[in-house]
């Protein structure tokens, strides 16, 4: 058999996914993966199915009211909020990623890591902090009045943070790392040779950025922006606090104030359909384009050295998002936490809460990252069509407001509980009390369903860079698809996979609505403690928990710091 024929056969095998031309003894594997994929799909679909059933119990009476009095304004507000946040996160995220990837300057390493820090900040805490700081009788404006010799707050009117523009800026400066992280990972993995070729051909830096780097990074930018926008759309804490009436606020008003869960589910499902449509349009926009690199070991681009004033300017520019998105609110939290500790001592139980947070967020992250890699690889592992369907499906959990997703999960989870209890009753004549919701299993499942999209997105963006030739080589050498995936793809996409896991972890640590609804008796996490204090207005009591959330969030950032260095070393030393 000639090599050409073998290659063609291997291609066919990868294309169809089901047949394995290499080793008969491994035939069973694809079936197991297919079964796993189907089970995962069922799990992701279960809350949406449950919500659909709920929605169908409604009469539809909610719609005339919405059309007449709510949708015109709420749709406009939502669109402006999403558009505004979209612009801010793309400009900050891509700009920052390019700054630390393309230029070398004093303090670059610090900026590179620091730019991730806002990830650790729950958006509603940032909103609380900035309102305290920027309120007419807060420290910033009081100081300014003293400086200008103005006595009454009325006489110096500054823009109000409790407004749509205020909300756009706050959310943008907290959410841009969703774009920064995958885009930077992509710049890291990306063939530096392309960029260098362009530089050698005399292209200006801006042309290199606009014509080469930006188009190459499009999958990462699209992924990050869609994550940030879904966060924005589903945000309830910050938006409500700042008086921005989005469609999501209406979902809650319908559910909570009118006891109309079916109506709320209807609105949420329509919004979900819109989100999926937008995601599909984006995917369609880059259909048929390959983003794979070459089989040779990737080289990061050589960084352009900036010295003197230019270096300082770069440093200053890189500091802006860190200061606004992290340092200012963090300093506020430190200040409040010190005030609390000096008045009342270290809050009781907060260490145990940190333990709970690590436990559940850790389990959720492991599950979501592993499943994320599996889903991203499903097109080559199971079947192309089914795998791509699964990837689309993974977005469902992230595209719904958190509390609505949690409500959707309640039914399936308690059903599963009931089934388990039925089995144990039959076997042993006794049933354990509620396990899933009661013992925290529900929480881990909720994290998986909610944040799978984050893990999948990162892995998919990474896998898209792995050239098909390597997979074919692996298969020709007699590796099973899964072995090829683990031995060839995983090492190559490690930065992307890990950055995805980092995002999932921080998301799990901050996650609020599902954690509130689904956790067992007597279990508090840092996020639930913080929220309980924040809505009572005892911010100071919550500040210690908030700081711990930030600290716990810093662990993965530190991990990423270690992850970044070997990749750089490898790139410099070459193969």
């Amino acid at each position: 058999m000639s090599v050409t024929v073998e290659l063609a056969e291997t291609r066919a095998a990868i294309g169809s996914g089901a047949a394995d031309v290499t080793a008969p003894r491994l035939r069973a594997a694809p079936l197991a993966w297919a079964a796993a994929a189907v089970a995962l799909a069922a799990l992701i679909l279960s809350p949406v199915a449950s919500l659909t059933l709920t929605a169908m119990q409604g009469s539809g009476e909610v719609w005339p009211h919405l059309l007449a009095h709510v949708l015109p304004q709420a749709t406009m507000t939502t669109a402006l909020l999403l558009g505004g946040v979209g612009i801010v996160v793309v400009v900050l995220g891509v700009g920052a990623a390019w700054l630390v990837s393309a230029y070398e300057f004093r303090g670059r390493r610090l900026i590179e890591i620091g730019l991730l820090l806002p990830l650790a900040m729950p958006t509603y805490i940032v909103a609380f902090a900035y309102l305290d700081l920027l309120h007419p009788i807060g420290p910033a404006q009081s100081g300014l009045r003293d400086l200008l010799g103005v006595t009454r707050p009325k006489d110096l009117l500054l823009p109000e943070i409790r407004s749509l523009p205020g909300c756009v800026i706050l959310l943008g400066f907290v959410l841009y790392p969703y774009v920064y992280l995958p885009t930077r990972a992509l710049f890291l993995m990306q063939a530096g040779s392309l960029i260098e070729a362009a530089r050698i051909l005399g292209r200006s830096p801006s042309a290199v950025f606009l014509r080469i780097a930006l188009p190459l990074a499009r999958p990462a930018i699209a992924l990050g922006t869609s994550l940030a926008l879904m966060e924005t759309l589903n945000d309830i804490g910050a938006a409500e606090f700042l008086g921005v009436r989005t469609l999501t606020v209406q979902v809650y008003a319908t559910w909570i104030n009118r006891s109309d869960l079916p109506g709320a589910a209807q609105i949420a499902l329509v919004m979900l359909a819109m989100v999926l449509l937008l995601l599909a349009i984006e995917r369609w926009g880059r259909r048929g384009r390959g983003y794979a690199g070459s089989a040779q070991r990737q080289r990061s681009m050589a960084r352009h050295r900036l010295s003197g004033a230019l270096g300082l300017a770069a440093l200053g520019l890189g500091m802006v998002p860190i200061v606004i998105g992290f340092l200012v609110p963090a300093a506020y939290l430190v200040h409040s936490a010190i005030a609390r500790i000096s008045r009342l001592g270290f809050p009781h139980g907060v260490i145990a809460e940190a333990g709970n947070t690590l436990l559940y967020a850790g389990l959720g992250t492991m599950l979501a990252a592993a499943c994320g890699f599996f889903v991203a690889a499903a097109p080559s592992l199971v079947s192309r069509r089914f795998g791509q369907g699964l990837i689309r499906l993974a977005a469902l959990g992230y595209a719904l407001p958190g509390a609505i997703l949690a409500i959707g999960l309640l039914g399936p989870l308690t059903l599963a509980d009931g089934a388990v209890s039925g089995v144990t009753t039959t076997l042993f004549g006794t049933a354990p009390a509620i396990i899933g919701v009661g013992a925290g299993g529900a929480l881990v499942v909720a994290y998986l369903v909610r944040f799978l999209a984050v893990g999948v997105g990162a892995c998919e963006a990474g896998l898209s860079k792995v050239p098909g030739s390597l997979a074919e080589a692996g298969r020709m050498l007699g590796r099973t698809p899964i072995a090829t995936l683990l031995r060839v793809h995983l090492p190559m996409t490690w930065p992307a996979v890990l950055s995805g896991a980092l995002l999932v972890f921080v998301d799990c640590v901050k996650e609020l609505p599902a954690t509130l609804l689904l956790r067992p008796l007597n279990v508090e996490t840092l996020a639930t403690h913080l929220y309980g204090e924040a809505i009572r207005g005892t911010y100071e009591d919550g500040a210690v928990a908030a700081l711990l959330i930030v600290l716990v969030g810093l662990i993965p950032v530190a991990l990423l710091l270690r992850l970044g260095s070997p990749a750089d070393t490898r790139a410099q030393n070459g193969p």
Binding site: V249, A406, L517, L521, E524, T528, G532, T538, E540
Partner: protein
């Protein structure tokens, strides 16, 4: 092999029974009230009775969670704020009737269900926060729509249950048409978009953004006592607090309350916990910890609240307010109150 597996499963089941098994001395509380608020109450109860209180703070979806858990739910007591939320638990069939002498004696008839399905545990009034320079302090809720307040009024969102309940109360008092005119008038008087919480009203008055606004009575205690820190103390001390009334009526009051869960595994303990919460001691802790008005006549009131003057509660039954909650919420949208 099979024996080994079933042994493991059996061991697991025994462990579960051990973990989840109901000992006589515990009670499970599902609550929408913040842990920091009720923990002192529950700790005091445990110290006194030796009963362990297991709690979970569920903010949104309390009813949905208990309904989904069904018969196997561990919930004994469901505790929430706002009469609408309380009655929703009853309407969804999640409560069971409870009637003991202690409960009936402690909670006056208007503050409990006649069938014993729900009991109010504490009260809060919707009071006016006002600029200290304001001299005219006789204020009615109706008056808030008076154009003399144009550009001088601060409120949190109309879709917040505290305001929705007040609007529902207005609907009961004056009918939907007048309520619409009133709410439109209130909206026209706003100095800023409805946002933030009740304390922000005090803060904005201090900043000169507005002159008058509405907030719950316990926030006054929380701010002025310094429990929320020195900044909030400054806000609380910087405003004047007035108890408004409906014209010719009394002040709008909302409640926190509880029901005994339909499938409560520890029903007797649940009842005992409720009885403790409405006892003089329990009511005193509500007053001390969160500056709420007691439901039990004669129970102590915090001095920061008595300083606000005598509270005359309006006579509209709480259940009527709850019934008009949906209409009130729709009205908020209709007049674009939160836009």
């Amino acid at each position: 092999m099979v024996g080994w597996v079933s042994q493991c499963l059996l061991g697991g089941a025994v462990a579960f029974a051990w973990i989840t098994g109901a000992s006589a001395a515990e009670v499970n509380l599902y609550t929408t009230r913040e842990p920091g608020l009720i923990k002192p109450l529950l700790d005091a109860y445990t110290a006194k009775s030796g009963v362990t209180v297991n709690t979970v703070f569920v903010e949104k979806g309390l009813a949905e969670r208990v309904a989904a858990e069904g018969e196997r739910s561990k919930a004994d007591v469901l505790m929430t704020v706002d009469i609408g939320n309380l009655i929703e638990l009853v309407d969804r069939g999640l409560a069971q009737p409870v009637r003991t002498e202690a409960l009936v004696a402690a909670v006056p008839a208007p503050l409990r269900d006649s069938g014993g399905l729900w009991y109010a545990l504490s009260m809060r009034a919707r009071v006016a926060y006002a600029d200290k320079d304001l001299t005219d302090t006789a204020l009615t809720y109706e008056d808030l729509a008076n154009p003399k307040w144009k550009g001088k009024l601060c409120l949190r969102a109309g879709q917040h249950p505290y305001n929705t309940a007040l609007i529902a109360h207005f609907i009961v008092k004056h009918g939907p048409e007048k309520a619409k005119d009133w709410l439109t008038g209130v909206k026209a008087n706003l100095a800023r978009k409805p946002a933030g919480g009740d304390r922000d009203v005090a803060r904005d008055i201090l900043a000169g953004t507005c002159t008058v606004g509405l907030g719950n009575s316990y926030y006054v205690g929380l701010m002025r006592s310094g429990k929320g820190g020195p900044d909030q103390q400054k806000w609380g001390d910087g405003i004047k607090v007035v108890l408004p009334t409906f014209a010719g009526g009394g002040t709008h009051v909302n409640v926190s309350g509880a029901v005994v869960a339909k499938s409560a595994p520890n029903r007797d303990e649940a009842v005992k916990l409720l009885e403790y919460l409405v006892s003089d001691e329990g009511q005193g802790l509500y007053a001390k910890g969160n500056f709420e008005y007691p439901v039990k006549p004669g129970a102590p009131v915090d001095p920061l609240l008595t300083a606000l003057g005598p509270l005359t509660i309006d006579t509209v039954p709480l259940a009527d307010i709850a019934r008009n909650r949906k209409a009130a919420s729709l009205l908020v949208d209709t007049v674009g109150f939160d836009n």
